[in-house]
C-alpha cells in the first residue's frame, strides 16, 4: 500500500512560563492511502497536538519542533514556510474540528465559508465555486442547499453545522482528512449519522482519514488501524482487530477495560487509577509505569522500545521483552484475546 504521510521521530515542545512542556516525545507512524487511522488516548496524551502539528496550526511563538520530520508528497512539512503551508492546508490536508457550534464564523454566510477554500485553491470563478459548494452541501446531506447557502451558522443545528464543516473540509478533495473528535460534541444519534456520512464520503473521494477520538466505540466503527497514545508517545499501534482483541500494552488493557460493556451489567466500571504524567517533567522510563500494576523495575528506568507483535502490530512495553515474566492481562482482556487467532489465549473459533 502507498504511504501518503510519514511521521518520523516527531518531537515537539511548548514553551510556557512554567518551562518546556514536551507534548510529543518521539512519535512514528505512517498513513496509507485510503485508510482510516484512529488515534486514541486520554486528554493530554498528545493526539490533538500531533495532528495540529501536521497542519502546522500550533502557535508559532510557543510550539517548537525539536526533532523528526513529517513527510508528505516528498516534502518535510516541519520545514515549510507559512506561505507554502497555506497552499497545502485546505487543499491537500484538511481538518474537521470538535465543536461545530464554534468552528464556523458566526458573521459569514455558510455559502461563503464553503466557497472560500474552493476559490483559494482551485482556479475557478465565483459562480462555479457557488455551484460546487451547493453540490458539496447536497453531498453531505443538507436539504435545500441553494437556500441554505445564504444562511448564517446560527440558523443550523449542531449536526447540520458539522455537515457544513465536513463540506468545507472536502471542498478541494483533500488527500488527507484530519478529524479531531468530530462527533464528541454531538448527541449520540447525530454521532452515528456523521460517522456514516464520513465513511460514505471517504469511499467517494478516496481520502485517507486520521481520526482522533477517545471513544473506543467510535474507533471500532470507523478505523482500519489504531494508534494508542499516552504521555506524548504512541504506545501501541496495529489493526483494529489487533488492538481490540490482542492488545499488548497495559495502557491499552486499561482503556479497553474502562469501556462499558453489555455483558458486565452489575460490575463496577473500571477506571485507570492515577493521573496522566506531567509533561513538564516527563518520567524517565515508561510513562504509564506509575499507574500500571504490571510495572517492573526497568519501566521506571528506561523507556521501552517498540516490540513487534506482527507485521502490522507493535507495542512499546517491556512486557514483550523475551526476558520479561509472563503476566496475566485483566480478565476482560483475556476474554477478548480468546477470540483472536494468534493470541496466546486463542481458543479456536467459537463454533
Amino acid at each position: 500500500m502507498e504511504k501518503i504521510l510519514q511521521v518520523k521521530d516527531l518531537e515537539l515542545s511548548f514553551h510556557t512560563y512554567g518551562g518546556e512542556v514536551k507534548a510529543i516525545r518521539g512519535v512514528n507512524f505512517d498513513l496509507y492511502k485510503g485508510e482510516t487511522l484512529a488515534i486514541v488516548g486520554e486528554s493530554g496524551s498528545g493526539k490533538s497536538v500531533t495532528t495540529k502539528s501536521i497542519m502546522r496550526l500550533l502557535p508559532e511563538e510557543s510550539a517548537e519542533f525539536k526533532n523528526g520530520e513529517i513527510l508528505f508528497g516528498g516534502r518535510d512539512l516541519t520545514k515549510l514556510s507559512d506561505k507554502e503551508m497555506q497552499k497545502i492546508r485546505g487543499k491537500d490536508i484538511s481538518m474537521i474540528f470538535q465543536d461545530p457550534m464554534t468552528s464556523l464564523n458566526p458573521t459569514m454566510p455558510v455559502g461563503r465559508q464553503i466557497t472560500e477554500p474552493i476559490l483559494k485553491h482551485q482556479n475557478i470563478n465565483k459562480d462555479e465555486a457557488k455551484k460546487l459548494a451547493i453540490d458539496l452541501l447536497r453531498l453531505v446531506g443538507m436539504p435545500k442547499p441553494e437556500l441554505r447557502m445564504k444562511q448564517y451558522p446560527h440558523q443550523f443545528s449542531g449536526g447540520q453545522r458539522q455537515r457544513i464543516v465536513i463540506a468545507i473540509a472536502l471542498a478541494c478533495n483533500p488527500q488527507i482528512l484530519i478529524a479531531d473528535e468530530p462527533t464528541t460534541a454531538l448527541d449520540v444519534t447525530i454521532q452515528a449519522q456523521i460517522l456514516e456520512l464520513m465513511k460514505d464520503l471517504q469511499k467517494k473521494i478516496d481520502t485517507s482519514i486520521i481520526f482522533i477520538t477517545h471513544d473506543l466505540g467510535v474507533v471500532a466503527n470507523v478505523a482500519d488501524r489504531v494508534a494508542v497514545m499516552y504521555g506524548g508517545k504512541i504506545v501501541e499501534i496495529g489493526t483494529v482487530d489487533e488492538i481490540f482483541y490482542n492488545p499488548q500494552h497495559p495502557y491499552t488493557w486499561g482503556l479497553l477495560s474502562s469501556m462499558p460493556s453489555m455483558d458486565a451489567e452489575d460490575a463496577k466500571l473500571y477506571a485507570i487509577p492515577g493521573t496522566p504524567p506531567d509533561l513538564l517533567n516527563p518520567p524517565k522510563g515508561d510513562a504509564f509505569a506509575l499507574r500500571s500494576e504490571y510495572a517492573m523495575k526497568i519501566d521506571m528506568e528506561q523507556p521501552p522500545p517498540f516490540f513487534k507483535v506482527s507485521d502490522t502490530h507493535m507495542a512499546a512495553t517491556w512486557l514483550l521483552h523475551p526476558e520479561a515474566p509472563a503476566v496475566e492481562p485483566p480478565e476482560m482482556v483475556i476474554e477478548r484475546m480468546k477470540k483472536f487467532p494468534g493470541s496466546r489465549y486463542y481458543e479456536g473459533s467459537a463454533n
Binding site: 497545502i88 458573521t107 459569514m108 485553491h121
Partner: protein, 311 residues
C-alpha cells in the same frame, strides 16, 4: 425590521416625554430667576416680564403649555441669553461648528483607533503592540485641554500651520479642535479592538479559517474584524453623541461658537427655555444614535438581527 423600528419609535417618544417632564420640574426647583437683574426691577415691571414669558402661570399650566409646544416642535424663545430668539434657531445655528469638529474628530479617532488596535492585536507583545498601548493610555489619561493647548502651541504658534483659535478659516479652523477631540475615541477604539481581536483570533472558527489555507491578512480582515467590532459599536454610539454635541472644553479653548459653549452659558444665566431646548435636543440625538447602534448590531452580527417580536 420595520415593525421593530416602529416599536422603538414609540419607546423613544415615551422616553423623550419623561426626560422633558423631569428636566422641566428640575429647572423649576432650581433657585434663581431667568430674568436678568430681577432684583432691580419693581414688582410691576417684573410682573410684565414674567407675563411675557408665561412665568406668571401656575406650574401645571406652564408644564402643559410647554409640552404642547414641544409636540408642535416649538421649543420656546430665549429669555435672556439670546433675547427673544427662537430656541430652535439658536440650537441649529450653534450646532454646525460642533457637529463639524465632532464628526471629523470621531472619524479620525475611530479609524486610527481601529487601525492601531488591529495592528497591536496582530503583532501582540511586540514593540508595535506596546507602542499602541502607550498611545491609548496617553489618549485616555491626558485631558483634552492639555492636548488642545499643546496643539495650539506647536501647530498653531510655533509652526504656524493652522489657526490657533476662532472659527474664521472654515476647514483650517476645524483641524486642531478635531485632532484634540479625536484622542479619546482613538484610545478607546484601539483598546477595545485590541482586546476583542485577540479573543476572536483565538476562537475555533479562526483556526478553521487557517486550516482552509487562509492567509494572515485574510484571517484578520475577512474573518476576525467583523466579529471584533461589536463591543466597540456599543461604546462608540454614546461617545459619538457626546462629541458631536460639542465638547465644552475644546470649544472654549479654540473659541468655537459651538453648542457646548452655548449650553454652559445658558446654565450660568439661568435661561430656562434654552436649557430645556438643548437638553431635549441632546436627548433626541442620543436616543436616535442608540437606535442606529442597535440596527448596526444586526448588520454586523446576523445572530442579533432585529425583529418586532417573534418571526
Amino acid at each position: 425590521m420595520a415593525r421593530y423600528i416602529g416599536k422603538r419609535l414609540i419607546y423613544m417618544f415615551i422616553t423623550l416625554a419623561l426626560i422633558a417632564t423631569f428636566t422641566f420640574f428640575l429647572m423649576k426647583i432650581l433657585p434663581g430667576s431667568p430674568i436678568a437683574s430681577a432684583d432691580k426691577l419693581s414688582p410691576e415691571q417684573r410682573a410684565v416680564v414674567e407675563a411675557r414669558y408665561g412665568l406668571d402661570q401656575p406650574l401645571p399650566v406652564q408644564y402643559f403649555d410647554y409640552m404642547f409646544g414641544l409636540l408642535k416642535g416649538d421649543l420656546g424663545i430665549s429669555i435672556n441669553q439670546f433675547k427673544g430668539a427662537n430656541v430652535t434657531d439658536v440650537i441649529l445655528s450653534r450646532m454646525g461648528p460642533s457637529a463639524q469638529i465632532g464628526f471629523q474628530g470621531m472619524l479620525l479617532g475611530t479609524v486610527l483607533g481601529i487601525l492601531f488596535g488591529m495592528v497591536a492585536a496582530l503583532r501582540q507583545n511586540t514593540w508595535v503592540d506596546y507602542g499602541s498601548t502607550i498611545v491609548a493610555i496617553i489618549g485616555i489619561s491626558i485631558p483634552s485641554f492639555v492636548f488642545a493647548s499643546m496643539l495650539q502651541y506647536w501647530f498653531g504658534l510655533k509652526w504656524d500651520l493652522f489657526p490657533v483659535a476662532l472659527w474664521k478659516d472654515g476647514f483650517m479652523s476645524s483641524v486642531l479642535p478635531s485632532i484634540a477631540l479625536a484622542m479619546f475615541p482613538l484610545a478607546t477604539a484601539a483598546r477595545f479592538i485590541r482586546t476583542e481581536m485577540i479573543e476572536v483570533l483565538g476562537s475555533d472558527y479562526i483556526t478553521l479559517a487557517k486550516a482552509k489555507g487562509a492567509s494572515g491578512s485574510e484571517i484578520a480582515f475577512k474573518h476576525a474584524f467583523r466579529n471584533a467590532l461589536i463591543p466597540l459599536i456599543t461604546v462608540l454610539g454614546p461617545m459619538a453623541v457626546s462629541i458631536l454635541t460639542g465638547s465644552l472644553v475644546v470649544e472654549q479653548i479654540f473659541a468655537i461658537p459651538g453648542i457646548g459653549e452655548q449650553f454652559v452659558k445658558s446654565i450660568m444665566v439661568n435661561d430656562f427655555s434654552i436649557i430645556m431646548g438643548t437638553t431635549i435636543f441632546f436627548s433626541v440625538f442620543l436616543i436616535v444614535v442608540i437606535l442606529i447602534v442597535d440596527i448596526l448590531y444586526g448588520v454586523i452580527d446576523p445572530r442579533i438581527r432585529l425583529s418586532g417580536g417573534k418571526n
